[in-house]
Amino acid sequence: MLVSINWLKDYIDFDLSPEELADKLNLTGTAVESVKHLGQDLGNVWVGIILDIKPHPNADKLSLATVRIDRPETLEIVCGAKNIKVGDKVPVATVGAHLPNGMDIKPAKIRGVTSYGMLCSRAELRMGADHSGIYILPDDVEVGVPLAQALSLDDTIIELEITPNRPDCLSMLGIAREVGAIEDRKLHKPSVDLTECFEKTSNVASIKIIDPDLCPRYSARIIRKVKIGPSPTWMQQRLEKAGMRPINNIVDITNYVMLETGQPLHAFDFNTLHGGKIVVRRARNGEHLETLDGVVRELDESMLVIADADRPVALAGIMGGEDTEVSDKTADILLESAYFEPSSIMRTSRSLGLLSEASTRFEKGTDPNGTIYAADRAAAFMAEFADGSVDKGVIDVYPKVIEPKKVPLRADRVNAILGTDLSLDGIVNILNRLELTAEVISNTTEMWVLTPTFRPDLEREIDLIEEIARIYGYNNIKSTLPKSGDKQGGLNLRQKLAESVKDRLVGAGLSEVLTYSFMDPNDVDKLQVPQGDPLCWFVRLLNPLSEDLSVLRTTLLANLIKVLKYNVNREQYDVQIFEVGHTFWHESGKDMPDEETMLGIAMTGAWKSDKWYDKARSIDFFDLKGAVESVLDELSIANWSVRQFTHPALHPGRSAELLIDDESIGYFGELHPNVQSDFDIPRTYVAELSFNRLIDNAKMQKEFSEIPKYPSIILDIAVLVDDPISNDQVLGVIEAAGKPLLKSARLFDLYRGKGVPEGKKSMAYSMVFRTPDRTLTDEEAFNAREKVVGRLGKELGAEIRE
């Protein structure tokens, strides 16, 4: 809503600068988008009149104009344009002017003649692109006044953002009422001085509302023998300042009154209405209407139309029809001033994708009791500015009068909600400033508040409390803290564990990323996932932004892989990331989609870069496994294991399933080379684990165990085993055979190659032997080692390497 301060002053007196007013509006709930001072750079630009034009003595293309402004002496100005004649009123920039286009005006000698100013074009004043000549001003402007004043540009425009609950503020009078409430000043609502002629409106026109649920009120007037022409300059200027284009006097008047009162009006060319009839009804399916914007609209029975005896002539509350539009030939006008059901207007406007100044007002709720005033006001203007004669009376179909609401209000409640200490009188005073009448129930602090129909938002006690808070000033309410002292804040255990896992991964060298909860459904194909796999149980959006964001992610991996790719494409080759986030799937037959919190990890490139002390090393499976193990360690999960795992997205020889006890937690491994090439990324390692199940298995109760009192004996052992034998197998035998003296065993070397036969590998373990109650003898330790050697040989065919 664009509000001209000068216009606003027609309705309300206030002693505030535009900035102060903007501030006050802002802090009472009418958001100010901008404050624009018009005509600011038009200093030293005046309305001048041309008294004489002579050719320039030294230049054929130039002329010499004698111009008078407000002083007795005249100015000689050199001019190149040819569109001026004696008697024209033109903008004259005198010495000292700094024009909107950046030009400074100084006395200048042009071809030997001194010019004391400049006659301006529209372009030079930034009032349009017209460069073709000097801006010839309307005849009725006064010579000698500043141009800004002559064009009513000594004004400030405040742009307001009106919230949907305040349709009353979509009008100058509504804004003036707000200002009145803020400043405690009375509103001057213009009185209407309407002279009606003898003919009765109801004799020539008839109005019928078929669907009063969608149109509770329809008022109309007839104005005859109008002369279509331009509206008065002041009206055009005001419309332009409000962002509307002047068209002709009739249309301009309907728009002007709408801007003034908030009541949209529509003028029909009465003689084009068949049968002189207005019928307000639902459209019939398949009916058509060509609206004023020239588009033929197909209607259906959810839409309300204004029809005449035969056909729809307007889309009720949204836009008029082409056939009944006011044209140069129009003589008689039927002026519509109606109240339509807001939600119906909104639905129709949405479904047709058609917004208008009228529809934005109707869909938020206009004042059902404001139709007559607006119709009368417009009719009076049509009589005055279009020479129309107004028929006697208004046709007003209003089957069920909408009364102001009576809303109960308790002063105690006001203070209890706001934390204020307002008196009953103080509360009533604020209500009155808002034109709300309060009837206090005697001997109580309770009251009935009558809320006018232009405030459809005020229905409940809390609505009134907000009004009081707003006008009292939010910032005048004292800041306090909730009094309750027995509340304890904090994260719960799961939340703490979740944070510690993420911090641990960061400590382990991975960075946290956040990717969209959406994914590209084609990515599961790139992951080689077969049809029917749970990763294809997509939760699809009905209205996605694009195909690649059209489903919710069933896995974190695709988005993580794309983060790697994004970085690799930007020469960031070493990337180790994780994300904790939801995945979503919709199992067929289930009502609701499921979602679960997952931990995803992706790594590519090198572990550190080349350093003066060390060479870079490519990330491998065991870097990934180390990251997974760090999570298990953080959660003190000991009872985990891994097993061979096949997944279409993973390298079959380099992938594993993580189990806790016997429950699968997820999987990790190297991406299958085909997947890498489909995504066009280098060698990549990924993990996807159920974060919830990891947290479920966290072992939080920790207990002290004795620190060994007696020394340990550490013995090493190196064995040659067949290649397929795993570390877990070897360790299993060592641990079983070494009991009870063996406390721990650790692989410290793994070797294939020279000295080791083909198909075999050498594995070296360091074993720690100890007893809790005495010092172990060397002999005991050696015997235990021998037992281990024997069992390894027997069970795994391992040869000992000495």
Binding site: L27, G490, Y516, L542
Partner: protein, 367 residues
């Protein structure tokens, strides 16, 4: 026969040898040569028995004295040599301290997570718990229970991602991607009796085409307090305290703002400013501006006016309390919500919201 002169001569020679010894080994050789079991001075002392008592006394005393002197000379020299040797070793072991240290590899938490943590910590200090909820939400929790009118524009297919929509009119079991984390408030209130003091950080979704200031996915932190006697003043006080800690004088990290305050540049006024606004689920409702942390409120490139719009807030609408089975005559509450990306962009000067989800490592490493 050994004379006293011989002994003194011997001592002189030994002393020279001590001084000449350039390392502990040589010095030890000198000690063995003179003071060892078969050493020269030891030998003299061994022969004392052959002397007359007078001679024995004289020579013996002289020899003992010389032995003591020599021992102390050797000790001195030993210390000196040790010092030299340590000094030499230290000199040889010195490193170029300007070489970079051996890297301990660590990653970074996402900036959004860091900001959420900062916000969360403040509210934990004020007595709040953290609540979470699903991202795929029923219309009921996301809209209806929050008093959103059936024809509210936020419910349109233009603005909200739908997964299931029964028809033109909203249905409770329509499924949406939550458009705010407010449905968590409903879930919490439905699951417990007041008092409730929670914040709900998390993802939210709106159907915005990505551009520098819009993202179809973003993060919010919502807060809710419902208790006996909660007032609008409590809402103001809570947000004021939060803002002081997050952006203002109490902030440990916002150095610029503190300096602006301390230098007296900033007007010594309130930390926040409330402007009435309209939200379906709160009344009275407010948009909350925070005094600019960069300039302290005098107006700068970041804020323009000295104020930054950061939060939406208000008193929980009685309809919402009734919907969850609370009695609005007995308890009242306030709620607030803030966009995490916006705060992060303002605090850290991030120019484009899309950077948060591109996850460029060079972006992550800055924070």
């Amino acid at each position: 026969m050994v004379t006293r002169a011989d002994i003194e001569n011997m001592y002189e020679k030994a002393k020279t040898a001590v001084v000449k010894a350039t390392n502990l080994q040589q010095l030890d050789q000198v000690r063995v040569e003179y003071l060892g079991k078969k050493g020269k001075i030891t030998s003299v002392l061994k022969t004392l028995g052959q002397l007359t008592p007078e001679e024995r006394k004289e020579i013996g005393q002289a020899a003992n004295k010389i032995r003591q002197n020599l021992e102390s000379d050797i000790t001195d020299r030993q210390e000196e040599l040790s010092r030299e040797e340590v000094a030499k070793r230290l000199a040889a072991e010195s490193v170029d301290i300007s070489l970079p240290g051996r890297e301990r590899v660590y990653g970074h938490r996402h900036l959004i997570s860091q900001v959420i943590k900062e916000i969360t910590d403040i509210f934990i200090g004020l007595g709040y718990k953290v609540a979470e909820g699903p991202e795929v939400e029923l219309d009921y929790y996301n809209f209806k229970a929050l008093n959103t009118p059936a024809d509210h524009p936020a419910r349109s297919l233009q603005d909200t991602f739908y997964i299931r929509k029964a028809g033109v009119h909203p249905a409770d079991d329509d499924i949406v991607l939550r458009t705010h984390t407010s449905p968590v408030q409903i879930r919490v209130m439905k699951s417990q009796e007041p008092p409730v003091y929670i914040i709900a950080p998390g993802r939210a979704f709106r159907r915005d085409v990505p551009d520098p200031t819009h993202s179809p996915m973003f993060h919010q932190v919502e807060g809710l307090a419902v208790d006996k006697g909660i007032t609008f003043g409590d809402l103001k006080g809570t947000l004021e305290e939060f803002s002081r800690q997050m952006f203002g004088r109490k902030s440990q990290v916002r150095v610029v703002a503190r300096e602006a305050f301390e230098a007296g540049i900033a007007e010594d006024g309130p930390q926040i400013r409330l402007r009435p606004h309209f939200f379906p689920f709160t009344e009275p409702s407010a948009e909350v501006d925070v005094r600019c942390f960069a300039c302290g409120g005098v107006g700068c490139r970041i804020c323009g006016s000295g104020w930054l719009e950061i939060l939406g807030a208000g008193m929980v609408d009685p309809n919402v309390l009734i919907e969850v089975g609370y009695n609005p005559e007995e308890v009242s509450g306030f709620a607030f919500g803030m966009g995490v990306e916006r705060i992060a962009m303002l605090l850290y000067g991030v120019p484009d919201i899309r950077m948060f989800f591109e996850n460029d490592t060079r972006f992550a490493e800055q924070f």
